[in-house]
Amino acid sequence: MPLLSTDSLPGHRVTFGADQPLKLDSGITLAPYTIAYQTYGRLNEQRSNAILVCHALTGDQFVAETHPVTGRPGWWEAVVGPGKLIDTDRFFVICANVIGGCMGTTGPREINPATGKVFGTKFPVITIGDMVRAQARLLDHLGIEQLFCVIGGSMGGMQALEWASKFPKRVFAAVPIACATYHSAQNIAFHEVGRQAIMADPNWCSGNYIARGKNPTKGLAVARMAAHITYLSEAALTRKFGRRLQDRDMVTYGFDADFEVESYLRHQGITFVERFDANSYLYITRAMDYFDMEAEHGTVAKAFADTSVRFCVISFTSDWLFPTSESREIVHALNAAGANVSFVEIATDKGHDAFLLDEPEFHKTLGGFLDGCCEHRGLPRR
């Protein structure tokens, strides 16, 4: 079943024409292109209270409202909203679907204006740097010179780091959560498994499934299932499911979902394909794989030389996708650069996904950091 058209999605769009092309890291120029984004709260008179929330691999711009496709709560409603930590009564919150995404921003599922056909795998390979450059254009469009804060977890954290590195004057504070300055070999390996699962689905049709009226949902679901395991932890899986059986008293000696954990993963796969485009998954995983600040700058410290950005780096003890050791590397590089940095490792068994969940210690830390930054920036505190 094909995905619903993005035309009907709520929220804002801005299209940058041929006169404002986006020069991609690959050397290719993208024009025109559209960014779909959501905003919450009001920009103050000084235009100093904007927070850019960067979404993760499979996130989107619907950060703090009911998702228009799934009907589920926004992906970070635990943190963003009126009276929440990222208080939309005080801050102007922006969240944009990344370049290469599938929720209205230009990506492989949209029409290539040059050919009148769906981009598919003709879409250029994009990078974290490209995503951030496109977001900078969006800020220009919104008339925001400097963000109060750029924040994100996982791939969103990579974007926060990239923002601070490439546009230090446009960022007052940055909060990279559960991320790293590079994608590790293990993470690239997991992404490759996901991509191969998609490409092995006969409905992928070499990337042309939309034109053929097909959708590689089986492959995409397997990709999601494999990835989802990496977002949790062994302890969390054991706590949530153990070896419990799904609606039965004994194993069936077959390949049905006997175990609760199997049923859960299948559900994750099935619901994911209703809202996500398989080619987008290929492109965005690639963007993460290519991220490597050391390769780009020589040392990570050079990427942040003389930065005035205030950083708060946060990691989670049970995150094995972006382990604390990788956050510590960020901190060491920032220390070497003389940056103003706070770093907290939160004890939790919830794995990588802990940043999306209700983790009181995490929220306390984040709230305190933002309060401190408000004081320095002359914004009202909680």
Partner: protein, 211 residues
């Protein structure tokens, strides 16, 4: 939740002595900053650009949620990444005895900071000596909630030991304060044997020898 500036009177006496050694508007790094009492004072009362390093999660949480710039880290492993002379002052208060390699840590302090301020608990204090002599049991120094086998303090020393090490490492001891039980301070010099017996704590400002 608002970060209240701790009043001067609220600072632990040894921390107040350290704070008094630090010039306003300077850059200071507090290693083993605990709940951030000194750091908060330096930032708010002395307008310092203050940063901290703290091992315990509760300490780091307390600091960061009060808006202080503190990283969760370890004096033994996280100092090598700081560039030379990055701070005007590097403070290590009541932490040296808990490090695995005090001499290495001290060398980093004078490398990272133009001045290093180190406070130690003096095991040569007469009450400590007497308690060992009379009771025949390992004195519990600097960690009253612990026993000898679970104390974090693995490298305790006397004031005299400490000053000997400074000499060995070729540090300049710019200032020395010896703190008695009531918290009042006296200047000490390299050769002050009496302070080693009389006073419970020592605070020293060190720097790297000019070459």
């Amino acid at each position: 939740m608002t970060a209240t500036v701790r009043a001067r009177a609220d600072l632990r006496p040894d921390l107040q002595h350290i704070a008094d050694m630090i010039a306003p508007n300077s850059r200071a790094l507090d290693i083993g900053c605990g709940d951030g009492a000194l750091l908060e004072y330096l930032v708010h009362a002395k307008q310092c650009d203050g940063r901290g390093v703290e091992l315990s999660q509760t300490g780091v949480h307390a600091c960061v949620s009060h808006g202080l710039s503190v990283i969760q880290g370890d004096a033994d492993t996280d100092l090598e990444h700081y560039p030379d002379q990055a701070f005007d002052y590097v403070v290590l208060s009541q932490t040296l005895q808990a490090t695995r390699q005090p001499h290495v840590v001290l060398s980093h302090l004078v490398r990272i900071g133009r001045h290093a301020i180190v406070s130690i608990t003096n095991v040569g204090y007469w009450r400590t000596r007497l308690s060992l002599l009379i009771q025949g049991r390992m004195p519990i120094v600097g960690a009253p909630d612990h026993r000898w086998y679970d104390s974090p303090n693995i490298h305790l020393c006397t004031t005299r030991d400490f000053l000997d090490l400074c000499k060995e490492l070729d540090f300049v001891v710019e200032r020395g304060l010896s703190i008695d039980r009531r918290g009042s301070a006296r200047q000490v010099t390299m050769i002050d044997r009496l302070a080693n017996l009389r006073d419970e704590q020592g605070i020293f400002m060190l720097s790297r020898a000019k070459r």
